[in-house]
């Protein structure tokens, strides 16, 4: 049985202009010890999905799903007290901005031991020792002395390591890393990623790595979930996804990678932006930006269909860069762009 099983998750925000679906029918499964990459542009609903799972959304959010189970427990009907026992202990999360995610008024040691205290108890001394050991594990030099440091006395990379230490303090079964390297220097990014992957292997925990960077996914994940405008558009093993992307959006994302664009003078871009609250198109959500869009794409919304080794949400999934099953009267390519 999967560790995490989410079916048809919808998250809507009540706004002045009405309900805005930030997440629109997401399916997500993660097995124990798996490393899943979730990719998508800003505003594609990646973070909101995870915040919904953790119960961290503001009160303006409506969360519904056919199923949302974690370690065999139903997260939709779980009482708040029960949920608090799980969050931070069995499932933990680290965020994008390490500098602002740690409380500036408390020492690193306090914030670290606090997580241990709430979930495991133990004596003050035990907690202190455990905290120092955790800091060592996440690669912070002279760990014991850093316990009394305040977050503003450490660098961004160090703070992210502290966040990681805090997240793994109670040996979670699932760690969610929400763009953990976006706010960091390029040289530090690789270190943090390596640390996450290493911890995931050592501890056998599941890791969901949220990113907008396809290159990061290629280096770390085994399975990838591509999201667009609150929907899942494609999911499959990383090799197969990179080798033969089947959704036009995935293909476009991969084309925009500098590593894969050898020889070309200009990197291809995807025209337009992710639809916002006022302009969610009918039909396929991606059709206004899709090179291959047909009349059917503008009127009908495609379902997520299974194929050989994954699932894709497209009427005419690509194969080796060419759309399949095009209708007889297909408009010539590019006319809709």
């Amino acid at each position: 049985m999967a560790l995490l099983d989410i079916r048809n998750l919808r998250v809507e925000f009540r706004t002045a202009q009405g309900l805005f679906p930030a997440v629109d029918g997401i399916d997500l499964t993660v097995d124990e010890g798996e490393l899943l990459g979730v990719v998508g542009e800003s505003g594609s609903g990646k973070s909101v999905t995870m915040l919904a799972l953790m119960g961290l959304l503001p009160w303006t959010a409506n969360v519904t799903a056919d199923r949302m189970e974690f370690a065999g427990r139903d997260m939709l009907s779980i009482p708040p007290r029960e949920r608090r026992r799980l969050t931070g202990a069995e499932m933990a999360m680290i965020f994008q901005e390490p500098m602002s995610s740690l409380n500036p008024c408390f020492t690193v040691g306090f914030q670290l031991t606090e997580a241990i205290k709430v979930h495991q108890g133990g004596t003050r001394r035990q907690r202190r020792d455990q905290a120092a050991e955790l800091l060592q594990q996440v690669g912070i030099p002279s760990a014991a002395s850093r316990l009394s440091a305040f977050p503003h006395q450490l660098s961004g990379g160090m703070n992210q390591r502290v966040m990681i230490a805090m997240a793994i303090a109670c040996n979670p079964k699932l760690l969610i890393a929400d763009e953990p390297t976006t706010a960091l220097d390029v040289t530090i990014q690789a270190q943090i990623l390596d640390l996450l992957v290493q911890l995931q292997r050592e501890r056998g925990m599941a890791l969901i790595l949220i990113t907008h960077d396809m290159a990061v996914v290629a280096e770390t994940a085994r399975r990838v979930n591509v999201m667009y405008a609150g929907q899942q558009v494609e999911t499959r093993p990383v090799d197969s996804l990179f080798d033969n992307p089947r959704h036009p959006y995935t293909a476009a994302l991969l084309d925009a990678l500098p590593e894969r664009a050898s020889g070309k003078t200009r990197l291809p871009t995807i025209p337009g932006v992710v639809p916002g609250i006022a302009d969610r198109p009918g039909g396929c959500l991606f059709h206004p930006r899709c090179r291959f869009a047909q009349q059917r794409c503008k009127t009908n919304r495609p379902e997520l269909e299974s194929d050989r080794d994954g699932r894709v949400r497209c009427f005419f999934p690509l194969d080796r860069g060419e759309p399949t099953d095009w209708p007889e009267d297909a408009e010539s390519r590019g006319s809709a762009a």
């Binding site: 953790m54 119960g55 961290l56 949920r83 608090r84 026992r85 799980l86 969050t87 931070g88 202990a89 933990a92 999360m93 965020f95 901005e97 602002s100 995610s101 740690l102 409380n103 500036p104 008024c105 408390f106 606090e114 997580a115 709430v118 979930h119 305040f150 503003h152 006395q153 966040m163 805090m166």
Partner: protein
């Protein structure tokens, strides 16, 4: 931290000198000269006038006069009251505890109610409780406290007869001043009837004086809470699975307190302005009433000395608040 303190004190010095200049100019700006003032309405002969001017050093150039004045000030000599002929500093420090006692109780009242109300309003933003707190606090902020005092007297002293109208303690009790704080002195002497009387005398003035600070603290706490609750570290605290009381009461409040402490510190000047009015309404024998009486009696040396001492007190309190601010805000403590 030490350097932080030193720089703060260094900034205060020119301000203090400026205040001495204002206090010094006060007597010399009033129409007529100090000797005529001293003589009062009986008048004075030209000869005696000149002699007194010389005695008081008023015939010397201004800068020399100022130098003498400031040297006296640093030796603790603030001149003598025209009316009682006692040193101004003596009068001031005899009345000072009464004002401090009143102000501290007022501030305690303001914080004890304003802080929790503000926190709760911030947490329940947009709900009925929030709107009520905001409305009531805006009314409190707009309150003419001299009228508020009179209204409370009508209700609690007049209609209900619960509290006395004025003074610090019933005339039935005689309390030898030890600390000058009536609440402490009565307890030290084991006179519980007197303590009870002192408390009942203190309640209304403290509530009146605390009203505006309460409103300011509640509003500031609310907006600080709202800002802090949206911060990433509050989300982190929730992601750790902490119980709500710990998130609000520890992680959020600790950060929200930083601006709130500043605002509480700023209330000290305001509190003194309020004390002038409150002490006048309740015939509270403190500095505020003494200053107003001195002005009405044209006792200018008292006004001059009082002004200087009050300004110094406010500056010292503000300095303490500044240092406290450094203590509760780690980011300032470690910055140079």
């Amino acid at each position: 931290m030490f350097r932080f303190a030193i720089t703060r004190i260094a900034v205060l010095l020119p301000t203090f000198i400026g205040v001495t200049v204002i206090a010094f100019s006060l007597i010399r700006l009033i129409p007529g000269d100090p000797v005529e003032l001293l003589a009062g309405e009986r008048g004075i002969s030209a000869e005696r006038h000149a002699k007194l001017m010389q005695e008081m050093g008023l015939d010397r150039p201004l800068h020399e006069q100022y130098l003498t004045f400031i040297l006296d000030v640093f030796q603790g000599d603030l001149g003598k009251s025209i009316r009682t002929k006692t040193p101004v500093s003596e009068e001031f420090f005899a009345l000072f505890p009464a004002t401090v006692e009143l102000s501290l109780c007022a501030l305690l009242f303001a914080v004890a109610i304003g802080l929790p109300a503000g926190v709760l309003a911030g947490v329940r933003r947009g709900k009925v409780f929030d709107h009520s707190v905001m409305t009531v606090s805006l009314a409190g902020y707009s309150m003419p406290i001299f009228w508020w005092g009179l209204l409370l007297i009508i209700l609690f002293s007049g209609t209900l007869g619960w509290t006395p109208v004025s003074g610090r303690i019933s005339v039935m009790h005689f309390i030898e001043p030890i600390t000058g704080f009536m609440l402490i002195d009565t307890l030290l002497q084991g006179n519980y009837a007197a303590f009870n009387s002192a408390v009942r005398h203190l309640i209304l003035p403290a509530v009146v004086l605390g009203t505006i600070p309460l409103a300011v603290i509640a509003r500031q706490t609310r907006s600080a809470m709202i800002e802090v609750l949206g911060e990433d570290y509050v989300r982190t605290a929730r992601a750790k699975g902490l119980p709500p009381w710990r998130i609000v009461g520890l992680h959020a409040l600790r950060n929200a307190l930083i601006p709130v402490v500043t605002v509480i510190g700023l209330q000290v000047g305001l509190l003194f302005s309020g004390a002038i009015l409150t002490e006048t309404i309740f015939a509270w024998p403190g500095i505020g009433k003494w200053l107003v009486d001195s002005i009405h009696r044209r006792d200018y040396p008292s006004v001059q000395g009082g002004l200087l001492l009050v300004a110094s007190t406010v500056m010292i309190v503000n300095l303490i608040v500044d240092l406290l601010y450094g203590l509760i805000n780690p980011r300032i403590r470690h910055a140079r």
